[in-house]
């Protein structure tokens, strides 16, 4: 195992742990993107450039866009719910 591969594995371990520990969804989404980039580095260092290429886009744009849109919608709904309740009182 080369030094680059060991660094990549360590980065993935740290990134994965951080993703599991952070509770705030918004911060989590950004962290997930960074974790995706460490995975790209891992795949590339283990000579799987095809997988690395897919992971760049899926991890840094594909997934975050969907999660951020969902968070946005949830926040909107909560706000609408509150105004409805205030209007009803």
């Amino acid at each position: 195992m080369t030094v680059v591969q060991i660094i990549a594995l360590a980065a993935v371990a740290v990134g994965g742990g951080a993703v599991a520990l952070v509770r705030d969804p918004l911060r989590l989404t950004l962290l997930l993107g960074i974790y995706g980039m460490t995975l790209v580095f891992l795949f590339f260092s283990f000579q799987a450039p095809d997988v690395a290429l897919s992971e760049i886009v899926v991890g840094s744009i594909g997934l975050p866009v969907i999660v951020l849109a969902t968070l946005r919608k949830l926040a909107d709904q909560e706000r609408a719910h509150e105004t409805d309740r205030d209007a009803g009182d």
Binding site: D50, A52, S54, V57, T70, D76, A87
Partner: protein, 259 residues
């Protein structure tokens, strides 16, 4: 709506973990001890692919050779998994009866992005389109292929969206066009398989000349498969993203008073 029933206490969780943790650790240790050494390769499949892909199929990227020729039928299944899941997403995120879609709203919430972000998006869009097309058509030569190229192509409109022009993205790539792209890609791959059935008597078998290894038009029908998958993946990601972003940016629940 609040969940009912008593919540799980921290004590109960820890007890459960104390019981399950050592068991999991034991299974992991036993499993890891049985693994071959790092870098040891025992399987035959990889060796066969290495021998066959270049000599018989004239493809220099083995992953593409596996995905789009040697194991093309699996890719058909994967492609339709993506197709079906995107179908499910659009079905779940459709505009509901008590909701309004505000297409007329030109100034949605992300409208006011900074000049730097908009400049960056302007630079990124042509680069992404070029890289995406390159990845799709060079699949059989260098790392990449239909899937990777397709998502890069789908990310180009996403950059316009980041620049705060989501409504313009909808005008530039209307839903019917994106859906048609996805459908053409999915159907195209299946039809290329039929070509194999007609010209080589086996579904999804290569029926085009292999050409000279290393040239753009080589490796039989791999480039065509790659283009079909590229269109499908680009369409699928755009359909899924716009379904989510419509929900987040354009679709609002009707106010109670307006009903």
């Amino acid at each position: 709506m609040r969940p009912t029933g008593t919540p799980v206490t921290r004590r109960a969780r820890l007890t459960l973990f104390a019981l399950a943790g050592p068991g999991l650790a034991a299974v992991l240790v036993i499993g890891l001890r049985g693994l071959p050494a790092f870098g040891d390769y025992h399987a035959v499949y990889g060796l066969v692919v290495t021998g066959v892909a270049l000599s018989m199929r004239h493809a220099t990227d083995l992953v593409t050779a596996v995905n789009f020729d040697l194991r093309a039928f699996d890719t058909l299944g994967e492609e339709y998994i993506l197709f079906a899941s995107v179908l499910g997403v659009t079905l779940l995120l459709r505009v509901m009866r008590e909701e309004d879609e505000e297409y007329s709203v030109a100034r949605h919430d992300m409208y006011g992005s900074s000049d730097a972000v908009r400049m960056l998006a302007l630079l990124l869009v042509p680069l992404m389109v070029a890289l995406g097309i390159y990845l799709v058509i060079h699949g059989q030569l260098t790392p990449g292929g239909g899937f990777q190229g397709g998502i890069v192509l789908a990310a180009a409109p996403a950059a316009i969206m980041l620049a705060g022009r989501y409504v313009e993205v909808k005008a530039l790539a209307p839903t019917w066009a994106v859906e048609a792209t996805e459908a053409i890609g999915a159907a195209g791959y299946a039809l290329l398989g039929l070509g194999g059935l007609v010209f080589a008597s086996v579904y999804l078998r290569n029926f085009l000349p292999a050409g000279n290894a290393g040239q753009l038009l080589s490796a039989g029908f791999m480039p065509l498969n790659s283009i079909a998958v590229g269109l499908e993946v680009m369409g699928a990601f755009l359909v899924a993203w716009t379904a989510f972003l419509d929900q987040a940016l354009l679709i609002r629940r009707r106010r109670r008073g307006n009903q």
